[in-house]
């Protein structure tokens, strides 16, 4: 598993430039708030369009400004874990988990609902509504929802920032297990050094540019 990202984008007064390729299991993007870390993830996910550059995952090109290649988000197979869990409020946990799973062709899936529930310890939550979940539970369901869509790469945008200390530890443990037990690379954004020290992996510093 590998990915290469080489993008440039001007957003208002910010100029975001990022160039990195990696074969490691976990890459941590570190930098101050406003450096454009989230924008880099959004470009990889296809939610915003780089002005220039190239994005490839496992040798497959997702974006290339020179050839005009620009895959829409739904055909990138990139899992995205947001700061807030962003569960669909009108669907129960089970329907949230299966949302992407059902849209993914069977040969792309690499985990089942049962395996996901066991891995994340969320089997008892399946019939609950999202608004009844704690922050940690919601984030675990969000991770499960992303895994079930069969991603080739996981993007995590400060997934601990809306959680208290005990829940952070819970989710960090889950992320460590994804890193060690599942064969999917993680691009992890944070502005917290302690998270990086714990998760290890490759550290890339993103400097805010003007």
């Amino acid at each position: 598993m590998s990915f290469e990202i080489q993008v440039e984008k001007r957003l208002g007064d910010h100029h975001i430039a990022f160039d990195h390729r990696s074969d490691t299991q976990l890459v941590a993007l570190f930098g101050p708030s406003g450096a454009g870390k989230t924008s880099i993830l959004n470009m990889v996910a296809g939610l915003i369009r780089p002005d220039r550059g190239r994005i490839a995952v496992s040798g497959e090109t997702l974006f290339n400004s020179e050839t005009g290649m620009d895959r829409p988000p739904e055909r990138r197979h990139v899992g995205y874990i947001f700061q807030d869990a962003r569960l669909f409020p009108h669907k129960r946990v089970r329907a949230n988990l299966l949302y992407g799973h059902q849209l993914t062709s069977p040969d792309r899936r690499w985990i089942t609902l049962e395996e996901t529930c066991a891995f994340l310890g969320i089997a008892h939550l399946l019939d609950r509504w999202p608004h009844t979940l704690s922050g940690g539970e919601a984030q675990r369901v969000a991770i499960g929802r992303a895994l079930l869509a069969g991603p080739r790469l996981l993007l995590m945008d400060e997934p601990l920032s809306s959680l208290d200390a005990a829940r952070r530890d819970e989710i960090l443990t889950v992320i460590e297990r994804i890193r060690d037990e599942l064969d999917v690379p993680i691009l992890y954004v944070t502005h917290d050094r302690t998270e990086i020290e714990r998760l290890g992996g490759e550290l890339v510093t993103v400097a805010g540019g003007a």
């Binding site: 996910a45 296809g46 939610l47 829409p72 988000p73 739904e74 990138r76 197979h77 990139v78 899992g79 995205y80 947001f82 807030d84 962003r86 669909f88 409020p89 009108h90 949302y99 992407g100 849209l103 993914t104 509504w129 999202p130 608004h131 929802r145 992303a146 869509a149």
Partner: protein
């Protein structure tokens, strides 16, 4: 039972029943035909940036602020037999709106449109677009994400808009009377019948009965919209 309900003055005459049914028909057709248009306009105004947006916004809201009689007169000019739209409708489809119940429905629809667009637009603006982004990363095409995320989440607003539009249609008077006149059995809806009964000596009992019915219909519509919003709202945090 009829003994307890009271004398004949408290009962509705067949004529009054037909007035009520006509009003319901006009209002339901008006709302059903306007709903997709109102949703489309609300979506454009809530989500899209385009030149002339301010103009479109103003145009949609116009029936809310100009005198209804003027709206009716404008409809008469446009949809009358000699009007640019009316002529085409008649020549190509054999459809006449002037002095017909369909014309009353058109007048009600135009008057209800701004209220419906407002209610739906608010609910679309309240949908968190980041949920749709999440859906896209999970493999949903824009259309699938619209159908499964945005649309269900603004359903309470659509229902509220429909009910509001229905209540407005039931009460529509000015535009209707100037566009399709006050023809018994064809365009004489509840407010027009009340108006007509007021002109006739001894019509007070009929006025009272029809007024009561129209209050009850509007009241029921408002209760219904409240119930819809509550029932849907119980399922999610908004």
């Amino acid at each position: 039972m009829s003994r307890y309900v009271g004398s004949h003055t408290a009962m509705l005459t067949p004529e009054e029943w037909s007035i009520i049914l006509l009003s319901l028909k006009v209002s339901l057709v008006a709302v059903a035909c306007t709903l997709p248009i109102a949703f489309g306009l609300a979506w454009l105004l809530a989500r899209k940036q385009f030149p002339g947006k301010v103009l479109l916004d103003a145009l949609v809201h116009l029936p809310l602020v100009i005198p209804p009689v003027v709206t009716g007169w404008l409809l008469l000019i446009a949809f009358g037999r000699m009007g640019p739209v009316g002529r085409v409708l008649e020549a190509w489809f054999g459809v006449t709106l002037m002095f017909r119940w369909t014309g009353a429905a058109l007048a009600a629809a135009v008057m209800a449109l701004p209220l419906m667009v407002r209610a739906i637009r608010l609910s679309i603006e309240a949908v968190d677009r980041r949920l749709e982004h999440a859906a896209r990363t999970l493999g949903a095409t824009p259309w699938h994400s619209f159908r499964t995320i945005a649309l269900p989440l603004c359903l309470p607003g659509i229902a509220a808009g429909a009910v509001l539009g229905f209540a407005r249609s039931i009460g529509e008077f000015g535009a209707t009377i100037s566009f399709v006149s006050n023809i018994p059995g064809e365009t004489r809806t509840l407010p027009l019948a009340i108006y007509a009964a007021l002109q006739v000596p001894g019509g007070e009992a009929m006025v009272a009965r029809l007024a009561l019915i129209s209050v009850m219909l509007s009241f029921a519509a408002l209760i219904a919209s409240e119930l819809i919003v509550r029932r849907r709202g119980g399922q999610h945090v908004l």
